[in-house]
């Protein structure tokens, strides 16, 4: 069947099914199961109202359980087992983890990931704050914001291509078509560099791509927060003779610290999951491996589900503190 047709049918079945389910189940509840008439009308209405929320929630809960909650448990189980030839699993305890810890490639990935975790959120937030502060002060601020925000719409893969062109290298006797090498030679570099193959520094060239994408996000959120800073605190500072830098760092930044933390943690989560950029640009060669790509390698290239699941659990472990922090904050707010 033509996939486009299949897609169309899926939309119709999916949307129609959802509407039909919600409408039908409500109708069934109100008219058949607990009709709002007859001798038990009061009891029936109460019961119907007890069940209704679960009717509304059921499809979502089912999808969330199957697609997010169950996999966490299952991955944990897989990370403690080993596939037997001919099917079946054998419980092996922490063997997968031990094997993984013995691999230098894992430590390289972990090390790089930690580097990413420090550099990317810090620089994205910093540039975002800078762009937010500057763009609020100029007439073409909205246009400027749009243009800095734009990379958010670009896929990681597209961004990888964009930046590969920036980092492109040609032999020294040809004209350089990558901006970076052209600038490097212009400012007195001796020979064009293949930027993505220089260990340690190449990770930074990959990080630039993610910073480029995430700065817009940070800017949008921080800009809203900056506008929310009460005017009288700033006025008071001006009256006291504070200069613009003091106003920014001593008055505004402390007041939006909460938002800065939110932005920082959100970007941290993105960093932990970063896969496409490394996969498309270096595929973990030249010591640029990160956990998500390491996991993909193990799962789908080496076909080792045990170690693959174990490395996925490491990612989960790194996310957990932020998860707890978010849940804690959300609950505090609801009260």
């Amino acid at each position: 069947m033509n996939p486009a047709l299949q897609g169309l049918i899926t939309i119709i079945i999916g949307v129609g099914g959802c509407v039909g389910y919600f409408y039908g189940s409500n109708l069934f509840l109100d008219k058949v199961l607990y009709p709002a008439r007859g001798p038990h009308i009061g009891r029936n209405i109460t019961r119907a109202n007890m069940i209704r929320p679960w009717l509304f929630l059921a499809p979502a809960l089912l999808a969330l359980t199957v697609y997010l909650a169950y996999p966490v448990i299952e991955t944990l189980r897989l990370s403690l087992t080993q596939r037997l030839p001919g099917g079946g699993y054998e419980f092996v305890g922490l063997q997968n983890y031990n094997k993984m810890f013995a691999e230098p490639k894992f430590w390289e990935a972990l090390q790089n990931n930690l580097l990413w975790l420090i550099v990317v959120p810090a620089l994205s937030t910093m540039f975002g704050l800078l762009a937010a502060q500057l763009s609020d002060r100029i007439r073409w601020g909205n246009l400027a914001k749009s243009l800095i925000f734009m990379p958010m719409a670009i896929s990681f893969v597209g961004a990888a291509v964009i930046w590969k062109l920036v980092y492109d290298t040609r032999p020294i006797d040809q004209e350089q078509i990558g901006v970076l090498n052209a600038l490097y030679l212009f400012f007195g570099g001796s020979a064009p560099q293949t930027w993505l193959t220089i260990p340690f520094w190449n990770s930074f060239f990959l990080m630039i791509v993610l910073i480029w994408i995430q700065t817009g996000f940070a800017m949008v959120i921080l800009s809203a927060a900056l506008r929310g800073v009460p005017e009288d605190t700033i006025e008071a500072a001006i009256v006291d003779g504070a200069n613009p830098f003091q106003i920014f760092f001593k008055i505004k930044v402390p007041q939006i610290m909460g938002t800065i933390v939110v932005v920082w943690t959100t970007i941290t989560i993105v960093v932990l999951k970063v896969f496409d950029i490394v996969f498309a640009m270096t595929n973990g060669q030249w010591e640029t491996q990160v956990l998500a790509n390491y996991m993909y390698d193990k799962l789908f290239r080496a076909n080792d589900w045990g170690i693959g699941s174990a490395s996925a659990m490491i990612i989960m472990l790194l996310v957990t503190p932020i998860l707890i922090w978010n849940v804690y904050n959300a609950r505090k707010e609801m009260r």
Partner: protein, 380 residues
Amino acid sequence: MDNIVGKKPALTRAVNISMAVLVALWLFPTLGLLVSSFRTADQIASSGWWSSLGTQERQVPAIRVEGAEVARDGRFVIEGRLFATTDARVSAWGTSSREPEAYAPGQVVDLDGGATLTVVEDGAYVLSSPSPTAGTRLPRIFSTAATPPEFTTENYRAILFDPKNTDGMAKAFFNTLTVTIPATIIPILVAAFAAYALAWMDFPGRALLIAAIVGLLVVPLQLALIPLLKLHNDIGIGKGYLGTWLAHTGFGLPLAIYLLRNYMVGLPRDIIECAKVDGASDFQIFTKIILPLSFPALASFAIFQFLWTWNDLLVALVFLIDSTGETTVMTKQIVELLGTRGGNWEVLATAAFISIAVPLMVFFAMQKYLVRGLLAGSVK
């Protein structure tokens, strides 16, 4: 307090300049790809894209003399042009690769066998030979010329509309569209009902469910790959569109529910209570009041989900693309091209820009909703 800057022109100028630099830095890489996608392979390989925007002087690859031979005054003459455009300005030319800049434009040069060749400034050349040239090797012309900016849409034609091109993106484009649209619409509907229940219905365990959804918001989808692939294989879906749609729906739901619930909670209580007093059922309240009022939040999430599914690589790699490659999506196709056509920037740039163009259009058209969604989704 705009007056701080407004009162000091020097500071205003500094702010304007730094912002311009920042914007230029952010725009420059994308611009490079866009410009490159409109240049020919030769142009891309011989000069940086930034120099193509103005008139540039460069060494043109050798061009062999060709054209119809005309007998004139007892000699055999071939006339032709080096460039399609007449705006080119030749500054030097030559007939051998060792001396590509040996002659000045307009100079008449004697070749072997009594032939003469001349190239004038605008790129026109005349080869005049005492005997017919048929069957002999005609000379090559090396030239250094300043050519005005020159762009072509040929790359796009080759990549989108040439069915024989194995690097083509047409199929991948439609596959991506096929993945994206159902994967955007279905979660919205499912999430909207759940969000309404979590926002406006009272039942035991509600707070716990909301907390669970906030938690699921950050669960890395990497954990879901193997268990779900196993599950899909066990229930017979295998790799294909259906599994991909389901996966995108599952992964998109926490954000959808979270965004929509936050928005719905903020709707005025009076409206809903009035409707209840008038005898509207929950189902009616939801479809007639809540859904229309929640349009901004629905739009925000729709954009997020659209961008995310359109730009996704990992989910497609794991759940969709099988060994036949029939269901490849654009991101996968581009990664493939990066591997096989790493140096062919005319192919890469065009392919990448085709995949980027749609999200960019959506972005610029609906930026307002995207910003709103981001603010609702993270500022707490």
